[in-house]
Amino acid sequence: MLLSIKNLQAAVEDKQILKGINLQVNAGEVHAIMGPNGSGKSSLASVLAGRENYEVTGGEVLFDGKDLLELSPEDRAREGLFLAFQYPVEIPGVSNINFLRTALNEIRAYHNQPPLEAKEFLKLTRENQKLVEFDAKLTNRSLNEGFSGGEKKRNEIFQLAMLNPKLSILDETDSGLDIDALRIVANGVNKLRSEKNAFIVITHYQRLLEYIVPDFVHVLYDGRIVKSGTKELALELEEKGYDWIKEPVTSESI
């Protein structure tokens, strides 16, 4: 099993946000997490990635056999956990390409691999640019600086392709994308899918799941996964909204 979350609880500023999350993800699987605004989807992603302002108040997470919660954020990344941010930050003056090279070589160093030679790195860059249809001009610009919302999201997918993680968490990567951009992003993800890696796709809309077809769909509400199913669940949610989910706040039966 790649990821095993048991009864995960977390708080921000003494406010309990995650109230006992259980989730198992195997290599080769795509899980979708849906749920209304404020239900804790981004919080779950942040806690998994190791954001400092979340305090884990209970539960455990195993990632590829290791205790994830013991690792620093950078070590989680180096172990192969990737978060495509809902709101990617801008870092002025730092070129996208220089940043990626640093990141890639840091990850390699962690696995006792030598830095990638400039030539190989450029080759990899070109291949991945093509794979996820990322504009070469953006590669040389400052990291996300002045990028449009869509360009930032596509940059996340480009980085994902470059770093080749075991588990990718996509936090509302589809929001703010027009249909063409959405298709490009989904195509990228589909090309990167393999038996060795897994994806958790956080989304608001069923729309994305027409392109990235999930193996499982989970509904997060008020810090808990209140319903799990297959891709048909997404359609049902699209039709009925979230209200019917909210009614019986179920116990930890899942």
């Binding site: 302002n53 954020p73 950078e74 930050v89 870092i91 003056g93 730092v94 940043f99 990141a103 840091e106």
Partner: protein, 482 residues
């Protein structure tokens, strides 16, 4: 995890200054104290002509009359001028004909600092003048430069060999009465670099001076004089370090630049004097007067500085834009951490018509560092169509440091265009987390962010030094995330 940043801070405070070693070499040191006698002593040691002794004495009298500045926004420590020795030179030195005669200990010192002086190892494309305490110990590539008619030597040597040039230009930009530290420098300056680029010559290599304070209780008072004759070009770089000592040491240099018609001078500084320990003990007082004049039409002077060291840095490299269509530039990155103070900026005096100036200042404060930008843009009544652009950014790391800006504008001509932009930002947790999430640790993340922030200035440095400066910035800020 809340304590993580504290740990890093702790680690950072104990970070050693890399260049804090002392060279053990026999020195000839003047007795402590300042009087007319001291000045006679220095002048005699250097076998100077009468006019120079007279000029030094005038400087001394200006110094006696001058008062400490009082406008700064930090507490100026009392400097005990009688507790300083004003001359220190390696004893072995007679006069070096070639690098082979230089004490191997000195060569080793500079090599340790990354400044190879021996002919086999010299930096390609860079001529270096190395100044150890009060004297210049070696200048590389002299012969090559001579072929172009370029003079690059120590000021002492220039006084002997080219007295007419020195007499004509010394004190012509920074008079001996300019300010208390410039007066002191005029009285006791020991050595420094002299550069003359003849008409129409483009200096084929970077010129560089490396200053090292070694001896205890000495001050370093170097004087640099650069003259670019009509239509010539030169790029010059200075670097500096000092051993770790518990006492503060005074560094009061004067730099004068003269660019004649169509000439261009690019002057870069990478300042890494010992900053003192984490409690603020020791460190260099870096009180420096740097000024250039664009004397002829279309002349250009560009200052670039990367300031990471010193307990207190206090300097305003300035340009007097006298010639019509002349240009002045100031690019600065100043880092303060621990208890460091930097009060730095520039003055641009627009006198000629259509003169232009550009000021890019990037302050970075960490720890309890205080960083001030202080600048003056002055437009005279005859400076038709003068233009200035000022951008002044501050970056804060942690919440115990401070950034301040004091931009002054005085315009007597309503055709002038003056633009000022200022920003203050904090290195965001978001930015660091984003980089962490890509496998980059916090140290490296800060280094990336800071170098990105300072890029516009670093890009101005000669290529040979840009990489060094980037490293220096990263090292200076190691562990300073709070």
């Amino acid at each position: 995890m809340a304590n993580k940043s504290d740990d890093i801070l702790e680690e950072y405070s104990s970070k050693e200054y890399e260049f804090g070693f002392v060279t053990d070499i026999e020195m000839e040191i003047a007795p402590k104290g300042l009087s007319e006698e001291t000045i006679h002593y220095i002048s005699a040691k250097k076998q100077e002509p009468q006019w120079l002794l007279d000029w030094r004495l005038k400087g001394y009298h200006s110094f006696l009359k001058a008062e400490d500045p009082h406008w700064q926004n930090f507490e100026l420590p009392k400097v005990d001028f009688q507790g300083i020795s004003y001359y220190a030179a390696p004893k072995s030195r007679a006069k070096y004909k070639s690098i082979d005669e230089v004490d191997p200990e000195l060569i080793a010192t500079f090599e340790k600092l990354g400044i190879p002086l021996s002919e086999q190892k010299v930096l390609a494309g860079v001529a270096v003048d190395a100044v150890f305490d009060s004297v210049s110990v070696a200048t590389t590539f002299k012969e090559t430069l001579k072929e172009h008619g370029i003079i690059f030597c120590s000021v002492s040597e220039a006084v002997q060999e080219h007295p007419e040039l020195v007499q004509k230009y010394l004190g012509s930009v920074v008079p001996h009465s300019d300010n208390i530290y410039a007066s002191l420098n005029s009285a006791v300056f020991s050595d420094g670099s002299f550069v003359y680029i003849p008409k129409g010559v483009r200096c084929p290599m970077e010129l560089s001076t490396y200053f090292r304070i070694n001896t205890e209780n000495t001050g370093q008072f170097e004087r640099t004089l650069i003259i670019a004759d009509e239509g010539s070009y030169v790029s010059y770089l200075e670097g500096c370090t000092a051993p770790k000592r518990d006492e503060n040491q005074l560094h009061a240099a004067v730099v004068e630049l003269i660019a004649l018609e169509n000439a261009e001078i690019k002057y870069s500084t990478v300042q890494n004097w010992y900053p003192g320990d984490k409690e603020g003990n020791g460190g260099i007082y870096n009180f420096v007067t740097k000024r250039g004049v664009c004397r002829g039409a279309n002349a250009k002077i560009s200052w670039t500085q990367v300031e990471t060291g010193s307990a207190i840095t206090w300097k305003y490299p300035s340009v007097i834009l006298q010639g019509d269509h002349s240009t002045g530039e100031f690019y600065s990155v100043a880092v303060t951490k621990g208890k460091q103070i930097a009060d730095t900026g520039t003055k641009m005096f627009h006198i000629g018509k259509n003169t232009k100036s550009r000021i890019i200042s990037k302050g970075i404060s960490a720890g309890e560092g205080q960083n001030s930008y202080r600048g003056l843009v002055q437009v005279g009544s005859k400076a038709e169509n003068a233009r200035n652009f000022t951008q002044c950014d501050s970056l804060l790391i942690g919440n115990r440091c401070g950034a301040h800006t004091f931009p002054y504008i005085e315009s007597k001509n309503n055709t002038a265009t003056i633009e000022h932009e200022a920003t203050t930002s904090k290195i965001g947790e978001d930015q660091i987390f984003y980089l962490n999430q890509r496998g980059i640790d916090t140290e490296k993340a800060v280094a990336l962010i800071v170098n990105g922030y300072a890029k516009e200035v670093l890009n101005q440095l000669p290529m040979e030094f840009a990489v060094e400066a980037q490293k220096l910035l990263s090292i200076s800020l190691e562990g300073s995330v709070g």
